[in-house]
C-alpha cells in the first residue's frame, strides 16, 4: 500500500539552485528507507519537503492522502501532528526536563495531563530512558538526548517517522544504539521510517531499502541496498 507518493517533483530555491529535479518515488506503509547522497545532493531538501518545511516548486508530494505542497501555513500543523521528526541537532527545549520535553508534543495536540503521562512514560520506555525522566537535556549524553528526541517524535503514534541525519553528531557505538531503537520502532509499531544519512556502516549493516540522490536526481533505488552499490557515483 502506497503511503508516500512523490510525482515529478521539482524544488528550485529562490537563488536559482535546483535541489530536486523530476523525482518520482513511492514508499509503502511500514517501510524503512535510507536516503543517501553526498552533501548538496538534495536529501535534506527531500526530507524538508516531507514535513513541509519546504514546498515543492512543481509536482506532487502526498503523505497518507495529504497533498503536502498545497497545505497553507495555517494548516501545516495538521500534517505535523501525524508525523514524528528526529533531527541531527535534537532540538530539545533546554529549560524543560526529559519528561516535559516529550509531554510538550502531546500538550501541543491539546491533550490533558492524565492522558499525557502514560503515553510519555511508554514512549520513554521504548527508547530506554524511563529512569531519566527528571533530568534536563544538558545533563544527558548526545545519544540520550537523541533518544529523548525520538521519544518525542513517537509519542503521538505517528504513521511516519522522518529522521534527518539522526546519528550525524554521535559516535559509532551510540549510533548503533540509536539505530536499534529506530529498527525496534519500525518492527514493533509498524511505523514507516525515512532516514537521511551519511553513515556508511549503518546503511551497510541494516540492509534496508536505499534511495540514492545525486544532484537532485534519483540515481538508485535498491530494495536491499548498501553504500557500496552506490560508490560508483
Amino acid at each position: 500500500m502506497k503511503f508516500i507518493q512523490i510525482k515529478n517533483c521539482y524544488k528550485v530555491y529562490k537563488n536559482g539552485v535546483t535541489a530536486i529535479a523530476d523525482l518520482t518515488l513511492d514508499i509503502n506503509k511500514g517501510e524503512f528507507v535510507f536516503v543517501i547522497g553526498s552533501s548538496g545532493s538534495g536529501k535534506s531538501t527531500l526530507i524538508k519537503m516531507l514535513y513541509r518545511e519546504e514546498k515543492p516548486t512543481k509536482g506532487i508530494v502526498e503523505i497518507g492522502g495529504i497533498n503536502v505542497g498545497k497545505l497553507r501555513n495555517r494548516t501545516v500543523f495538521r500534517l505535523r501532528r501525524k508525523l514524528g521528526i528526529v533531527f541531527q541537532d535534537f532540538k530539545l527545549l533546554p529549560k524543560l526536563t526529559v519528561y516535559e520535553n516529550v509531554a510538550f508534543a502531546l500538550e501541543c495536540l491539546g491533550l490533558r495531563g492524565k492522558e499525557i503521562k502514560p503515553r510519555v512514560v511508554e514512549a520513554l520506555e521504548h527508547v530506554g530512558l524511563k529512569e531519566k525522566l527528571r533530568c534536563f537535556p544538558s545533563e544527558l549524553s548526545g545519544g540520550e538526548q537523541q533518544r529523548v528526541c525520538i521519544a518525542r517524535a513517537i509519542v503521538n503514534d505517528p504513521k511516519l517517522l522522518i529522521c534527518d541525519e539522526p546519528t550525524g553528531n554521535l559516535d559509532p557505538k551510540t549510533s548503533k544504539e540509536i539505530m536499534d531503537v529506530l529498527d525496534d520502532i519500525n518492527k514493533k509499531l509498524g511505523t514507516t521510517i525515512i532516514m537521511a544519512t551519511h553513515d556508511k556502516e549503518i546503511v551497510n549493516r541494516m540492509k534496508k531499502r536505499v534511495i540514492v540522490l545525486d544532484n537532485g536526481i534519483l540515481a538508485q533505488d535498491v530494495v536491499k541496498g548498501s553504500y557500496k552499490a552506490s560508490e560508483s557515483i
Binding site: N73, R74, V76, F77, I85, K91, F104, C108, N156
Partner: protein, 272 residues
C-alpha cells in the same frame, strides 16, 4: 522590560497630546458658542412686526436660539456703562437705539448663511456676525484641531511600531522554542496566543504610569492654574470625569497596541 518602558514613554506623549487636543477642542467649542448674529430691526417696526420677525428667525432650520433685546433694554444697559453715556442718553428724548435679536446658530459654519437669510426679511436694518474675523477664527480653530488630531494618530502609530519592534527583540531569543512548537505540531494560533496575551499585559502595565501621571498631573495643573490659562481667557476642561476618559483611552491604546505589536512580531516566525 524594555518594551514596558518604551510603551510608558510613548503613552505619556500620547496622553499629553490627547489632553492638549481635548482642551483645544473644548476651548474652540466654547468660543464658537459665543459667536452670534446680531440683528437690528428698522426703527419704525411695530411690535406686531417684531413678533413675526422673531418667529421667522426662530423657524429657520439652522437657528438654535433667538433672544430679543428691546431698545429700552439696550438703553438701560448702555447707561450703566459710563456716566457720559448716561447723561447723553438721558438728554435725548427719543431712544435712538434699535430693537434687536441675538441669534445663536447650531453650526458656526452657518453663521454667514443665517445672517444672509435674515437680511432678506422685511423690516431688518442689519444682521452682523463680525464678518471676516469670524471666518478667520474658525479656520484657525479648524487647523489647530486637525493638527492635534494628526499628532495623536501619528503618536499611536509610532507606539505600535516601537512596541512591535521591542517585542520582536524579545521573541528573537525564543525563536527556537517557536520553531520546535511548530515542528511538533502546534497550530499557529496556539503559538501566537501566549505572545498576544503577553503583549496585552505589557501594554496594560506600560499604560499604568502614564495613567497615574495623567490623573494626578492634570488635577494638579488644573488646581494650580485655577481652571484657566491667561486670566481666564482660556478655560480648561474640569478634571472629573475628563481624566478618567483619558485613562481609559490610554489603557485601550496600550493593550490593543501591545496585542497588535506582538502578533505582528510573532507572525514572522510562523512562516515556513
Amino acid at each position: 522590560m524594555a518594551s514596558i518602558i518604551c510603551t510608558t514613554i510613548t503613552l505619556i506623549l500620547v496622553a499629553i497630546a490627547m489632553v492638549v487636543t481635548a482642551n483645544v477642542n473644548y476651548v474652540t467649542k466654547s468660543m464658537e458658542e459665543e459667536l452670534t448674529v446680531v440683528v437690528y430691526a428698522k426703527k419704525e417696526t411695530t411690535e406686531e412686526q417684531l413678533k413675526t420677525i422673531e418667529n421667522k428667525i426662530r423657524n429657520m432650520s439652522e437657528v438654535e436660539e433667538v433672544v430679543f433685546k428691546s431698545k429700552e433694554e439696550w438703553r438701560a444697559e448702555m447707561m450703566s456703562y459710563s456716566e457720559t453715556l448716561e447723561v447723553t442718553l438721558d438728554y435725548l428724548e427719543n431712544n435712538p437705539l434699535l430693537d434687536s435679536y441675538i441669534v445663536k446658530v447650531r453650526e458656526v459654519d452657518n453663521l454667514a448663511k443665517v445672517a444672509k437669510e435674515i437680511r432678506t426679511l422685511e423690516g431688518i436694518e442689519s444682521a452682523n456676525y463680525g464678518e471676516g474675523m469670524v471666518e478667520e477664527i474658525i479656520s484657525v480653530f479648524d487647523i489647530i484641531k486637525m493638527a492635534t488630531i494628526v499628532i495623536v494618530i501619528a503618536l499611536v502609530i509610532v507606539t505600535a511600531f516601537l512596541i512591535s519592534n521591542t517585542i520582536k527583540l524579545t521573541i528573537f531569543s525564543r525563536r527556537s522554542e517557536i520553531e520546535i512548537m511548530r515542528l511538533v505540531g502546534s497550530s499557529n494560533i496556539s503559538i501566537k496566543m501566549p505572545f498576544v496575551i503577553e503583549g496585552f499585559l505589557l501594554g496594560i502595565i506600560g499604560s499604568l504610569v502614564p495613567i497615574g501621571l495623567c490623573i494626578y498631573g492634570y488635577i494638579l495643573m488644573y488646581e494650580k492654574l485655577g481652571g484657566s490659562i491667561s486670566f481666564s481667557a482660556i478655560e480648561l476642561i474640569k478634571p472629573m470625569p475628563f481624566v478618567m476618559y483619558i485613562s481609559l483611552a490610554l489603557l485601550l491604546i496600550g493593550s490593543l497596541v501591545g496585542m497588535f505589536g506582538s502578533s505582528r512580531a510573532v507572525r514572522k516566525y510562523l512562516k515556513v
